[in-house]
């Protein structure tokens, strides 16, 4: 479905700070996959996600969606088939607009916007129903400004906005990392519920090994800009943190292993 083929991406190419962020990375995401992505800091997880989303174009390699080449498609056009949730809970919503205005914007993802009214009366009931699923009482605050919401509430709203028009692929970039553990767990549970009910193809970057093992049907590990581990099915179900670490050591990543990853 979404296919990355030999992607190479340098940052600051030719300069003193040249970084090879993606090193001949290939990945084939199949319909219905829920992939968790792990790797130490600087392994290229976020770069890979941003590359899929079209925030920048790769130096070489191709990206294809359903066998169509989308390598040169700008970010705003890819939005039509991608849903995204960012690490920073403030990035996914517009603070100065109301909850219903944000939802109405998301409701038009990938469609032409014209001179029709932004928030239509007939949409409100549907928005209410959607917000009820969150169980945060936001359905009674349709006209509240989003800046009044907490980080967790905003991230829950972003999850809803990313999926209210069904995306072909859902990209989650450490979307619980900036939240407190309890809120993070709630958002994770919401993620699981939405992904399961809508049968979404999902890519989730995480720093938490337990999360990566528990969720999804496939786990990939990035290291120095390429996929060094790709585990799916039965093998993934039997995975534990210990043998994941073991495999990581044996692949020569020991010196790169960050404290953050060990502690999580």
């Amino acid at each position: 479905m979404l296919n990355l083929q030999n992607i190479v991406k340098y940052f600051h190419k030719g300069g003193a700070n040249e970084v090879l962020a993606l090193n001949d990375l290939s990945l084939d995401i199949r319909q219905g996959d829920f992939i968790t992505v792990i790797g130490s800091n600087g392994a290229g997880k976020t770069t890979m996600l941003n590359c899929m989303a079209g925030c920048f174009f790769p130096d070489s390699g191709t990206i294809a969606l359903n066998d169509q080449d989308i390598t040169g498609l700008p970010e705003f056009r890819r939005a039509k088939f991608l849903g995204r949730v960012f690490q920073d809970p403030l990035l996914g919503t517009s603070a100065s607009l109301t909850i219903e205005q944000n939802l109405a914007l998301a409701d038009k993802r990938g469609q032409r916007r014209g001179f029709g009214l932004g928030v239509k009366k007939k949409d409100r009931d549907r928005f209410c129903e959607l917000l009820k699923q969150l169980g945060l009482g936001l359905e009674d605050r349709l006209q509240a400004c989003v800046k009044l919401l907490s980080g967790g509430q905003r991230q829950a709203l972003t999850m809803l906005m990313a999926t209210m028009v069904r995306p072909e692929v859902l990209l989650l970039d450490e979307h619980t990392a900036a939240l407190d553990p309890k809120t993070g767990a709630q958002i994770l549970e919401l993620t699981q519920r939405i992904v399961e009910t809508q049968r979404l193809t999902t890519l989730m970057v995480t720093h938490n090994m337990n999360q990566a093992i528990k969720l999804g049907n496939r786990l990939i590990m990035l290291h120095r800009g390429r996929v060094i581990l790709d585990i799916a099915g039965e093998e993934k179900k039997n995975l534990s943190v210990e043998n994941l670490l073991e495999r990581f050591y044996s692949l020569g990543g020991a010196d790169e292993l960050s404290d953050r990853m060990l502690l999580s």
Binding site: A53, L105, L117
Partner: protein
């Protein structure tokens, strides 16, 4: 202050209110400090004056001014989004270029409209006295502009414009081409400013290449005064506040011109200094208030 001076302030406040709406659209909505306005105000004046001199109906000439202003704004937007020039610098470049263009359009640095028809004739022709015609007509036009802008910002496109200024990353991920929104938004803003310039020229009977100096500062002062008096938040309120701020600003100026302590009197040439001080005070007052509260 005389009743006559108050009426004059309302007239000036309404006509410059169009410019203030334009400045509000870039400065507050798009988060794009746009100095193009110092050039697009005389641009509108020049285009309208040349058109009237060539025999075009004064009302039709306003549409020419709108179009010219829109183009000027679009150029600033393209310089910023496509050529990646810092917004402030992009707008200064357009502003400087417009100085030459405005002289080219008029063929000289200024153009008089004495004896030529203007939009005000439509009212004075009906027997409305001249001192009432200008505030009435300009007031009506600015109220229409306020209503139109409020409507626009509630449309799908308008909401996307608001979100572009607030959170470009988010609205891009929802499929909006933010470059296009910025180009169109800055264009719309400068169209309003050029319309203002055209009306000012017709009102004072001349277009002058230097009439735009200090426009941005007056616009900012009006926006900020409006926010202080009328509050911000929401979509509708700040737009009405911008128009009220414009009138309040002109009233303050009229009041300042009456100001006299012994030998010392405020002259019209001091206005830019006064305006700059107002903007500095308004921009820093929240910090000063915060500091005082902490003590």
């Amino acid at each position: 202050m005389t009743w006559y001076a108050i009426l004059g302030a309302i007239e000036q406040g309404s006509v410059y209110g169009l410019m203030v709406l334009g400045v509000y659209l870039t400065f507050r909505v798009l988060d794009f400090p746009d100095l193009t306005v110092d050039g697009s105000l005389p641009l509108g004046a020049a285009v309208s004056s040349v058109a009237i001199t060539a025999g075009v109906n004064p009302f039709v000439s306003l549409f020419f001014a709108l179009g010219a202003g829109f183009l000027a704004g679009m150029i600033t937007g393209i310089l910023n989004t496509k050529l990646k020039i810092l917004h402030l610098l992009a707008s200064i470049l357009t502003m400087i270029a417009l100085y030459s263009i405005n002289i080219r359009i008029m063929g000289r640095p200024n153009l008089t409209l004495l004896g030529k028809p203007t939009v005000l004739d439509s009212l004075t022709g009906l027997g409305v006295p001249a001192y009432l015609a200008a505030p009435a007509l300009f007031g009506a036009i600015s109220i229409v502009a306020v209503a139109a802008l409020i409507w626009f910002l509630h449309t799908e496109l308008g909401q996307a414009t608001l979100a572009t200024g607030d959170n470009p990353q988010m609205i891009t991920s929802l499929g909006v081409n933010t470059d296009m929104v910025v180009i169109m938004g800055v264009g719309l803003s400068n169209a309003l400013v050029a319309l203002c310039g055209a009306l000012v020229a017709q009102n004072q009977g001349a277009a002058d290449v230097n009439m735009g100096v200090g426009t941005i500062v007056a616009g900012l002062a009006s926006v900020i005064i409006g926010e202080t008096l009328f509050g911000k938040g929401g979509v509708t309120r700040p737009i009405i506040a911008a128009l009220i701020g414009s009138i309040a600003y002109r009233l303050a100026i009229a009041f300042a011109l009456d100001f006299r302590v012994g030998e010392l009197a405020v002259s019209p040439s001091d206005l830019n200094l006064i305006t700059a001080v107002i903007v500095v005070l308004a921009l820093t007052s929240p910090q000063i208030k915060g500091k005082l509260a902490r003590k």
